[in-house]
Amino acid sequence: MQINVNGQMTEIGDDPQMPLLWALRDIAGLKGTKFGCGVAACGACTVLLDGQPVRSCQTLVGDVTGAITTIEGIGSPENLNKVQQAWLDEQVPQCGYCQSGQILAAVALLEQTPQPSDADIDDFMSGNLCRCGTYPRIKAAIKRAAGQGAA
């Protein structure tokens, strides 16, 4: 089976029941998407499906009909996405494990709500867990990426 990942048709194995998370990581070799809980409770595995954030641990590859975007698809160390740049400017990550999911959720939020309020950010981002407690800096980085300046 092949699906569109980051603009390229990508081999993801032959088991339609496999969660997209494991197909991306183990078969396509895209390891930026992280495993956190397996039950859509933490957001670490967030990817975009046609621009909408989905939990790849609970999305079966057989059900993927649209285009998938992972952290590798929105920017690179040489060419950062504006959200990634804001994350760097605000020095957001600590352990960094949840941040691929946080960044993709923020990309989707800003796509839908270019000027989010604190309440918008809380609502949209509270499905993404961070055990290091980087929330205040995530919020500041989202505002920075929205052009609201350093919070």
Binding site: D15, V39, G96, C98, T134
Partner: protein, 757 residues
């Protein structure tokens, strides 16, 4: 291995009795460790000491031998070298480096004795200086105890200075001038008189052959260009682009995947196991029995992680019963029962508590029971490790906090010397103490042993991770005080019952070491606080509940901070005095503590009326060398109780990187608040009842308060940053809830008694 044998006989981590091994080990202590970098140098590379390599192409590699688990240790420790080597931090290539005895952590062990941080008596200082050499003997390359920066402060600056002096000496020889006339800047040695200039890379080969300098001159603090200033973290570009390699991301040629299904009852084994259905699942290759000191169960080797997960789930296993109190109620009863027995140790005993209570009128006596549950670490990255056993060499790739421990634990599994186990430390997706355990790499080794030389990456499910932790201990405390109206405490008597972390860790990690003497982690946060109370006793009651317990961010301080600081609040209320004023009086001999309290009072506007439905609470704890005062503001809102603000003043002596210190302190606060909201690990039928973030959640963005942190730098000793933010956050919130609602919370999590938004 001779060194380990000597250490095992004489060494008691965290216990009072460490004397005896010191003289025996003198020879080993004086003999410097080999530089582990020498054997793996690339073409054109020279090494100067275990921390620095410089290549002819100008690549300067710094070994930061501590686990980067989010605390920014790679940045700050590399900055020590950059400062003294005179190169910009951004020019350095940072590696974790190999597991080696050269990277022992003496600062952590110095904190391990039973003496409070402020005790600078002769005996306390002698014990501290003796434990440095002891940790070198054991080669404890551990990341923990908020100790990395304190441990590296001298060592890594000296490493940088030594390399710089050797580069200058090489240039002096090349140009035939006096070394004194040369200077360095941005990776070059410069001769101002002749205008000669040579890059470090061009000098490295010659300089690396020179002997290490006999004496070193370190920069004066006033000359620092990098230290003491916030630096951009060196690991963040990788972490915002998904390119940082965590343990779970290890990828090797031909690698297989695996997972484990361990006994849900600790110490219990399988009575029967049927793997017929598991082996029918496509991609499942092999089911491997695992029997280790840390646990018994089965490993499943498969072609991909998902197949392994399905295979593990399909195993039909009947497990033995629990040989310990099987329910949370039975555990609490056991803890309470232990409190009625004589104490195992009393690490604080000022005045005479018995006499002080003897003639106390009833209205002057305050009594309370406090309790906390077991807690899981719940790192975002589930436990995992990759192992390969091929051609007599064992390789372990693991996000771990103790590579030297892994070497010692893994070596006997395959019958090699500890030094021959190659441990590769990746980034850690959270650690919090969990990744100092050896269970997850041990299981990977057991599976690699039957994989014919093929590497196996073993990833646990979240459910396995949640149900097989080394938990923060459950604890019960009996608190008693005699109070005087308008003044405060005349006598305080605290008895804490909990499982011993040290005994539990040793039992499953180094079974040959017997845990003797007091375990100071059991009462830390109660017995070692900077208060002067005429009659003041803190006793510990070790209670083995059969549940593995371990180092959870701030360890014993995480619960003693809650007990001690909430009970002080009760004493203030009963005495009719302000809790801040009372603390200032009781801590008057410790300006570091009163300084932090006054600062946080100013930040929070202590004393103001926060308005209807709101309350302010205050707490102070001294842990890991940092004096931390916090004020919480809570609001009883229509949606539920909200923690609106946390103000924090942290006295740390010297902050090497203020940005990172603040981030760490905030992180510690959120970690503590997460436990206050709703976290608990409970037991039924000997098994953990929780399984995932659905029933063991952590603070979410919508619940996170505004947090302000101010750093104070007046104390003469440097403190840690990773853990000290946690202990006062919990009592500050409980005390604020009391102010806002009148409800006194004495057991955790608070979410069982109040509804949080």
């Amino acid at each position: 291995m001779g060194i380990a044998k000597i250490a095992r006989r004489t060494f008691l981590i965290g216990a009072a009795a460490i004397a005896g091994g010191i003289a025996v080990g003198t020879y080993f202590v004086r003999k410097p460790w080999d530089n582990p970098l020498e054997k793996d140098l690339a073409q054109g590379e020279a090494t100067f000491n275990p921390f620095i390599k410089i290549a002819s192409d100008e690549t300067i590699t710094v070994i930061v031998p501590r686990a980067e688990m989010g605390q920014g240790v790679q940045t700050t420790l590399a900055a020590f070298v950059a400062e003294e080597l005179d190169v910009p931090l951004g020019k350095l290539t940072i590696e974790h480096g190999p597991g080696s005895f050269a990277y022992f952590n003496s600062a952590m062990l110095e904190d391990g004795g039973p003496f409070p941080f402020f005790d600078e008596s002769f005996i306390a200082e002698t014990m501290r200086s003796a434990s440095g050499p002891l940790s070198k003997m054991l080669g404890l390359q551990v990341t923990g105890g908020s100790s990395s920066t304190r441990d590296a402060f001298e060592k890594m600056r000296q490493a940088g200075a030594a390399a710089r002096q050797m580069l200058i000496a090489a240039a002096a020889a090349r140009w035939n001038v006096n070394a004194q006339s040369l200077s360095t800047a941005d990776g070059f040695v410069v001769d101002a008189a002749s205008g000669n200039k040579a890059s470090y890379g061009s000098l490295a080969a010659e300089a690396g052959k020179l002997p290490a300098p006999g004496s070193l001159v370190l920069k004066d603090k006033a000359e620092w260009k990098i230290l003491g200033k916030s630096q951009p973290r060196t690991d963040l570009l990788a972490k915002v682009t998904g390119t940082a390699q965590f343990g779970i991301d290890v990828d090797l040629p031909d690698m297989l995947s695996g997972t484990v299904r361990m006994s849900p009852r600790f110490g219990a084994k399988a009575k029967s196991m049927n793997d017929a259905e598991a082996l029918k699942i496509k991609g499942v290759l092999k089911v491997v029995p695992i029997n280790a000191p840390a646990g018994s169960g089965f490993g499943v080797i498969a072609q991909n992680t998902w197949a392994a997960f399905q295979g593990a789930e399909a195993l039909v296993i009947e497990w033995e019963d629990a040989a310990y109190p099987a329910s949370s109620q039975a555990q609490t009863d056991a803890l309470r029962g232990q409190l009625s027995k004589p104490a195992d140790f009393t690490l604080r005993n000022d005045g005479d508590v018995t006499v002080a209570f003897a003639d106390a009128p009833r209205e002057e006596v305050l009594e309370a029971e406090y309790s906390v549950p077991f807690l899981a670490h719940a790192c975002m990255e589930p436990m995992n490790a990759t192992a390969r056993w091929k051609d007599g060499v064992l390789d372990i790739w693991a996000p771990n906090q103790g590579p030297a421990i892994l070497q010692m634990v893994a070596a006997p599994l395959v019958g090699v010397e500890a030094a021959d186990v190659r441990v590769h430390t990746t980034f850690l997706g959270g650690g919090f103490g969990r990744r100092a355990e050896a269970d997850f790499p041990t299981y990977a080794v057991e599976m690699a042993k039957v994989a014919d030389g093929i590497p196996v990456k073993v990833v646990w499910t979240r459910e396995e991770d949640m149900r097989h932790d080394a938990y923060r201990p459950a604890a019960v405390a009996k608190m008693k005080a005699r109070v005087r109206k308008g003044e405060g405490p005349v006598a305080v008597d605290i008895a804490v019952a909990a499982p011993s972390v040290i005994a539990s860790v040793l039992k499953r990690t180094f079974p040959s070491i017997s845990p003797m003497g007091p375990d100071k982690t059991l009462t830390e946060g109660s017995h070692d606080q900077p208060l002067t109370i005429a009659n003041y006793r803190v006793a510990g009651h070790k209670t083995d509940l059969g549940i593995p317990v371990g180092f959870w961010r701030s360890v014993g301080n995480s619960y003693n901070g809650f007990f001690h600081e909430c009970f002080l609040d009760e004493i203030a209320t009963a005495s009719g005095v302000d809790p801040l004023e009372m603390r200032l009086k009781l801590m008057a001999q410790y300006p570091a503590a009163t300084g932090a309290l006054k600062k946080v009072a100013e930040m929070s506007g202590w004393g103001r009326d926060p308005g209807p439905g709101r309350g302010l609470g205050i707490a102070h704890t001294l842990s890991f060398g940092a004096w931390v005062a916090e004020v919480a503001q809570v609001h009883v809102s229509p949606e539920g109780l909200r923690i609106e603000n946390i103000w924090c003043a942290i006295e740390i002596g010297q902050a090497m990187d203020p940005g990172i210190v603040k981030a760490q302190t905030m992180s510690g606060i959120v970690f503590g608040l997460s436990s206050a909201l709703g976290q608990e690990i409970t037991f039924a039928n000997g098994e953990v009842e929780q399984s995932n973030f659905t029933d063991f959640d952590a603070m979410r963005m919508s619940q996170c308060p505004r947090i302000e942190v101010e750093i104070l730098e007046t104390f003469h000793k440097m403190g840690g940053a990773g853990e000290p933010g946690t202990p006062p956050s919990i009592p500050a919130v409980a005390n604020a809830i009391f102010k806002a609602t009148g409800k006194r919370l004495r057991s955790m999590p608070f979410g069982k008694e109040v509804d949080f938004a």
